[in-house]
């Protein structure tokens, strides 16, 4: 205990079906990396911070896991995904979340969403023409009032709300939460910025084991400035529990001739 247990090395195959255009989805990478650093005593990612150093491609990659410390309640690991050079590096604190933990104190509640049948499924082939792989793997049903950009009428408020579950209909696992936390469309679409929003850094806190059923997600931006924005995503389970909190720093570009939404 308390001593680094060396580094393990894994060959992984990054599936092209998860790519956005040609680049693997960030949440898929995170979930793949975290899954290799868990153990029986510390089976749940509690806090994972990933810095996206350079986009990998689909295909073969190497993941190195260095256990930094194995404690009684939590373990710490460094996880590095490489293809020739480093592509993503992450730090993980893992532990064991209780299945029946009571809330001691909580602020707020799940996002208010229209019924599932009133939320259209986001297509993997999106308005930008890009194929968005995670939308084949996830059934994402967006509150239409937060998807007006798809109709060419962005609302001017960077907030997207949606129902989400696995495309195979299975109940969410704790690793699925790492995918869902990065699966919604960029909030910049709401501002009429339809370009790619590359993630620099993404941290996900997993707060509880998700109950069976659909997850409700809300993603917001707080500040767009100097080419960088934050995106914050909350995931709530079918029992109205906050199961994950994520925040990322990403880049945005304002194209020439941009006109702000007419709000």
């Amino acid at each position: 205990m308390g001593v680094s247990a060396g580094t393990s090395r894994y060959d992984v195959d990054l599936e092209a079906s998860w790519s956005i255009g040609t680049k693997p989805h960030g949440g898929y990478l995170l979930s793949t990396m975290a899954g290799l650093a868990l153990d029986e005593v510390h089976p749940h990612p509690m806090a994972i911070s990933a810095h996206y150093v350079a986009s990998p491609d689909a295909g073969r990659a190497t993941v190195e896991v260095e256990r930094l410390r194995t404690g009684r309640s939590v373990s710490s690991s460094r996880i590095r995904l490489s293809q020739d050079s480093i592509r993503v590096e992450a730090l993980l604190t893992a532990g064991r979340l209780s299945a029946d933990a009571d809330v001691f104190w909580s602020a707020g509640g799940p996002p208010d969403l229209p019924p599932l049948e009133d939320c259209p499924r986001a297509p993997a082939e999106g308005p930008t023409g890009l194929r968005v792989g995670q939308l084949d793997h996830c059934e994402l049903k967006i509150d239409p009032s937060t998807a007006m950009w798809a109709l060419g009428a962005p609302t001017g408020t960077p907030e997207v709300r949606a129902w989400i579950r696995r495309d195979d209909g299975n109940d969410p696992s704790v690793l699925d939460l790492l995918v869902f936390a990065d699966a919604l469309p960029p909030v910049t679409f709401d501002l009429g910025l339809m370009g790619w929003v590359p993630t620099l850094e993404l941290t996900v806190l997993v707060r509880a084991l998700p109950a069976p059923g659909w997850i409700r997600a809300v993603q917001r931006g707080r500040l767009l400035q100097d080419g960088w924005l934050d995106e914050e995503c909350e995931l709530w389970d079918s029992e109205d529990r906050l199961v994950a909190q994520a925040r990322q720093l990403a880049g945005y570009r304002v194209p020439a001739g941009y006109t702000p939404p007419n709000v």
Copy 2:
């Protein structure tokens, strides 16, 4: 470009004056570590994620900086602080923030605080009897309505608001923001939990270079459950700009005989 430039090694002295009890302040560690990984092209920490593996002690420590990638707009580094074994590991994405960037989009505004003269300075010798080192280094003036726990009357709402600046009165540097983002009292005090709240993970996004003058800070918790809580801190500068967003995952304990605040 694009290639790891090896690892640099630094001896540092963790000053005892920064300790909380006997353990160095987390923001001080973060700022010390980040300062060693910056360069002239990428002088500003934009996103730093630290996992606190095991508390170091004051005194000699080693910091290893591995540059993961040096790109045009950002650099990525892994930073490890050790004393015999690993104590803190962090990932840093650094770049150059513009001094005069315009806000493209922003939600909300700075916390509403009483005038400075109506906010008492938080003493380094706090209600728990512990010496809180960062409060000798920072002048922290707390909105009294969010410090009722100091009078034995916690409000029941985990939110603290305060003015903060360096104790020497100098204007804030970008590295000072990493200290300030972890300098407020734990929000658990507001719930009548007066114990230590050890940080597992802390991520700080620096969003702008701070203007001269006082910083306004607000720190909130969203969920306490299963022994873990999130704490989120926002820092706003004297020109009403959001300069940093931080979130941490920390542990709390409910002592035997705990009675919730009478609210």
